[in-house]
Amino acid sequence: MKKLLSTGLLMIFTLTLSFAQDFPLEFGNISREEIEMDQYSRDKDAEALVLFDIGKTRFERNNGSFDVMYERTTRIKIFNDAGIEWSEVEIPFYSHGNINERVIDIEAFAYNEEEGEIVRTPLNSSDIYEESINEYWNKKKFAIPNVKGGTIIEYSYKIRSQHLFNLRDWEFQWSIPVLHSEYEIRMVPFLEYSWLLQGADEFDIFDYYRDGSSPRYFGSTGGYSSRPYYDMVYRYGLRDVPAFIEDEFITSVNDYIIKIDFQLARITSIDGSTRNIMTSWREVKNSLSDHAGFGIYANRSRRRASRVIDTREISEKPDREAFNHVMDFVKENYRWNERSGIFSGKSAREFINDKSGNSAEINLFTIGMLNRVGIEAYPVVSSTRRHGRIREDFPSLNQFNYVLIAAMIDGEMVLADATDPKLKNDRIPARCINEKGLIINDGDDAEWVSLEPDFPSTIKREIAIRFNENNDITADITKTATEYDALYYRNSFTDDKEEIFEKLDSKEYNIKEESISVQNHDKIELPYILDYKISDAVQTIGESIYLSPFLNEAITENPLSQEERTYPVNMTYPGKRVFKTTINIPEGYEAEYLPDRQRINNQLFELNYSTESDNGVITVSFDYHFKQSVYSPSVYSSVRFYYDQIVNKGNEMIILSKISDSNN
């Protein structure tokens, strides 16, 4: 739901709502009903309730430009001890470069009933602290005094900001329920914003009007050049917003919480001329191409490339080879500092000197080098999983936090990233798999590229089980992992035998440490292969042997423990698991029971299970494949059912029994 705020075009949503509970919405005015309230009828387990949360944004003149004045007033009822944490308030603010935000006029109170009276305890200004989070962000923090179960707290503050491009999001939803949330913005005719509501379809309160009561003047007040103008006031509100419950397996809370975003779209000068800021992705694209820390940085990198590698020699190689050469070189010589970002904060020269940088510095540098050796390569701006997904109907730079590489190799586009040396050259890291990215090329239109892998990552386990004389077993296990699964093994298992032993040991069977061997750890184009030998006792009941053919290798628990789900299950990438076990039946035994075959195959999922017994050898084959990386809530129960089947088939036992002597 995206709207452009331009006067007169907007429909008015209804204001005809009957409110179940009408509490005062005014700072300092506490009703007895609020004090006496001991639970919230729509969510009786809630530890606290936001009675109201009101935000107001207006623009104030400051030296020919505007500052954003943001004002917030919040009242919270605390029902029990678990809710007391809401009395510790933190207000983040930004301070770096031209933006110097200030938090002012903080006021906070606690209201308690004592001996029949409502007693108010103020926060002392000396109890407001400032914490520096990093070079960009700080926060004001305070703990409201005299708070216990039953207390009402309220606080208000203002933030003055020079940041006009993105206004602060207004989140209507909290992790506790909200009775009344309202956001008002007083627009000036010079700045036009587009806005986007996420997580809800419409407002309970929506209203706008021209504030004709007091004209404001732009230019020197009352002077010759000054012109009168009026604020346009827009008001958005939601009531009875349920608590946001964070689920497992989601990308980012940012993708789901109910909120409204504002993004500067157009600036109008006094003379009536307008400048579009970001009304289209095309403009976003152009602004990047011309940016010193983006397009210009990539260009400079291209120019400097010949100082660090022999560009002439490389450019004579075939595409694929030249591409690999550049990627390998960057990965080997430059380190990612674990920071995301779409802009370089350094010059290309500094980056070459420092030998480390953020994702933009590394990948834009690589793009410059690729271009220099004759490979067509473009930046792809994207958003990491933690940062949230891109909303295409809301053009804004702010949605991006990462730069990837798109290179044309033999006429085909290859996505790449040079931050992780363990990643294949034509792959992007798992943290970056998040729907799509915007390619920054010379074309006029915005072009999106899918970041979702269309190939599965596989772990294959081959298990060969032999019986020893005392009916113990020895098994050779070979694990072969490809793609993202291989990357996982390379990073977490490595090729350090001690480390691997520690990790495997948690499976609780006897691993022979000396049998551990790893192949292809450093040959990242090839699958990661891990071999080891284990010994284990088997279960015997009477004359029969019970054996789980996949030992402890299959999952034993359904990871989806909830009955229902409101958000998609996001598995990052499609995954495939293959098991193949061969068992040499010991002398004098035969297969008494082999589990049933099973087969499931549809667009979502595939599973195959089969057994075979031939010449004293039992073969058990099992594979399953989650074909998608994201499953919507509507198919949650199916996915959960598939996991049940996996757990079930993965842990079924075969029974071997003594061949009876009667035939002899």
Partner: protein, 614 residues
């Protein structure tokens, strides 16, 4: 005893894995400390060899500072393999941020950070800086260990101070210092290394106790007030003086205390009433600036704001009890697990928590004023350790009571019924004391409903159990036990195989331990573990029991385990119990301890009951 074992271990290791490749190595760590005219200045210099990409994390440098400790003259550069300086730190590359400790709401700790890298290995990062301390009551807590996972080849600590300045120090795995005197100055020099990294292991004593270190304190110091570490009594007197200025309550607070306790004769009852009020009205918020690490906020601060940290809340409650005419003692303790033994021979600030000690006629109370738990319940956090009771000219160590097996008993009863789809419905009724009581109580008290049910589903339930419902009963206020019920569905109990059903156990949760051949550290168990389970399985219609029961019992010095079966009409009852004593065991004893735990694990994990189709 521990320390001797460790030295032994270190020597062995050195022989075995000499020449092993490390990701990084500290080649040299030098620190020069000097004291003149009451100012403490430390110059530190590090040379760290980075051997590969994995070692690169050691080039991320973080230097703490605060309002009492400034940092200046930060210099850093990188030398390549040829010894050539290839990169120098630029001033603009140093960033600063707050480093508020995890227990604080706010404090004035900050760090300066930077990172320097190179692209061909090996290379060496060299950095140095100076710290100046304004007020201090310890001189250094020095260790040659920069990171426990990498070795330090050489480390030197030099302390230079006026002749008449007296210090005391304690060395752990570090030789005694060389001492030198020049004109009116004296100089100590410690040399140490850390050739073979030690890694932590489960159920072991505090990790720090295995690392070399030197702690140096001044005998006489000025920290807020003049004080001394000559004896524990002296240190206690300094703490006592700090408290003196922090007593006293506003008049209407005094009036309320008196009216609450009016007419009550029994002191313990008075304390209980006032403690409940403390719990109802106050909360834990730690704000610590300057000397706030040791000096409590005054009682009037808590009376006004209704919050404070352990020092402030304890000091406040001491004042409350003073008003009620009850003598109580502010008491320093090192809380948490594993228990850290106080070095009584070395008077020094060795504590991290404050509680209240109240000797009554025929009874001794221990109150943790930050706790929302039962009255007079020191809990696993404070139990069984030395605490320094602060008393003028008579500060002394008193031991907090040890939890017995009855104090930690966890009793559970599982009713297990068979469903037509071969799953089982399990209903648990548990009654818990000890650590589990503390966990469940905090879930009940301080978690919101959605977090609580998620936590229970993921952490409390047995693995493979899908929760259907649960109830956690708010206990009587001062009860030291909590009841918990849940019902869950699982396919992990009735395991159909051909014509048989194997009945699976619901095993005790056991510690995961290193195998004896890999174990390097001794064992420390702070309080006993005592669990009793009763499982009642339905026998599905059409099945009969097809195996003999093997009752099992193990008794060792480490504890006991028993397993018993009882067949009833249509059901089977299994009763199990496990007791692990508290205790300390050497590495030599580890194999037996491991064997005991493994024997329980094997018994718990084997299928003991087979049902056959009729």
């Amino acid at each position: 005893m521990f320390s001797r074992c460790l030295v032994f271990v270190l020597l062995i290791l050195q022989n075995v894995s000499y020449g092993q490749d490390f990701d990084a190595e500290v080649l040299l760590f030098e620190r020069d400390i000097s004291i003149s005219r009451g100012r403490l200045i430390k110059n530190s210099r590090y040379e760290i060899l980075i051997n590969n990409r994995d070692g690169e994390k050691h080039t991320n440098v973080s230097i703490p500072f605060s309002s009492l400790k400034s940092v200046q003259n930060i210099n850093a550069y990188i030398k390549d393999n040829e010894g050539e300086v290839v990169r120098r730190l630029r001033r603009g590359e140093i960033t600063e941020r707050s480093a508020i400790s995890s227990v604080s709401f706010y404090d004035d700790n900050y760090v300066k950070e930077f990172s320097l890298r190179h692209n061909s290995y090996p290379y060496t990062i060299v950095y140095s800086y100076q710290e100046t301390h304004r007020e201090f009551f310890y001189i250094d807590n020095w260790s040659p260990v920069i990171a426990s996972s990498i070795p330090t080849r050489k480390a030197v600590l030099t302390l230079e101070l006026p002749d008449d300045y007296i210090v005391s120090y304690s060395n752990r795995f570090v030789d005694l210092p060389e001492k030198e005197t020049t004109r009116n100055r004296k100089r100590y020099r410690w040399k140490a290394d850390y050739p073979e990294p030690v890694s932590n292991e489960r159920m072991s004593p505090p990790f720090y106790s295995f690392l070399p270190s030197v702690v140096i304190v001044p005998i006489d110091f000025v920290y807020e007030l003049e004080g001394s570490f000559a004896t524990w009594e002296d240190f206690g007197n300094w703490q006592h003086k700090l408290l003196k200025g922090a007593a006293g309550l506003p008049d209407d607070e005094i009036r309320r205390i008196l009216s609450l306790t009016e007419g009550i004769e029994d002191d313990k009852e008075k304390i209980r009433i006032l403690y409940h009020r403390l719990q109802n009205e106050t909360r834990y918020i730690n704000v610590s600036v300057e000397t706030g690490g040791l000096k409590p906020y005054p009682a009037s601060y808590v009376a006004e704001k209704k919050y404070g940290d352990c020092k402030a809340l304890t000091n406040y409650f001491k004042s409350v009890l003073d008003v009620a005419g009850i003598k109580s003692y502010y008491t320093l303790i090192h809380a948490g697990s594993p228990v850290r033994k106080t070095d009584k021979t070395f008077p020094f600030q060795q504590f991290n928590h404050v509680i209240l000690h109240i000797p009554l006629a025929g009874d001794t109370l221990w109150l943790d004023c930050t706790s929302k738990g039962p009255f007079n319940y020191p809990g696993t956090f404070n139990q069984n350790r030395d605490a320094l009771v602060i008393d003028r000219d008579n500060s002394r160590f008193v031991s907090t009571p040890a939890m017995t097996k009855e104090d930690v008993a966890e009793k559970r009863k599982f009713g297990i019924s068979y469903n037509l789809d071969r799953s089982a419905t399990v209903s648990l009724h548990g009654k818990y004391r000890g650590a589990m009581f503390e966990l469940l109580l905090s879930l009940e008290r301080t978690f919101g409903e959605s977090d609580r049910s998620r936590f229970i589903r993921n952490n409390i339930l047995e693995s493979g159990f899908n929760m259907e419902s649960y109830s956690l009963y708010r206990p009587e206020r001062d009860s030291q036990a909590i009841e918990f019920k849940y019902s869950a569905n699982t396919r992990n109990i009735y395991n159909h195989q051909g014509n048989l059903i194997l009945l699976n156990n619901i095993p005790f949760n056991l510690p995961r331990l290193e195998r004896p051949e890999n174990r390097k550290l001794p064992v420390q168990i702070d309080y006993p573990v005592y669990r009793t389970d009763k499982l009642v399985y339905d026998i599905p219609r059409g099945y009969t029991v097809g195996s003999d029961f093997q009752n099992h019992r193990v008794v060792t010095d480490f504890g006991e385990y028993s397993l018993q079966f009882l067949e009833k009409e249509g059901s089977i009852e299994v009763v199990k119990s496990m007791l692990i004593h508290s205790g300390s065991y050497s590495v030599e004893e580890y194999e037996d301890f491991y064997g005991f735990i493994k024997e329980i694990e094997e018994s718990e994990n084997s299928t003991n009951i087979v049902l056959m189709k009729n």
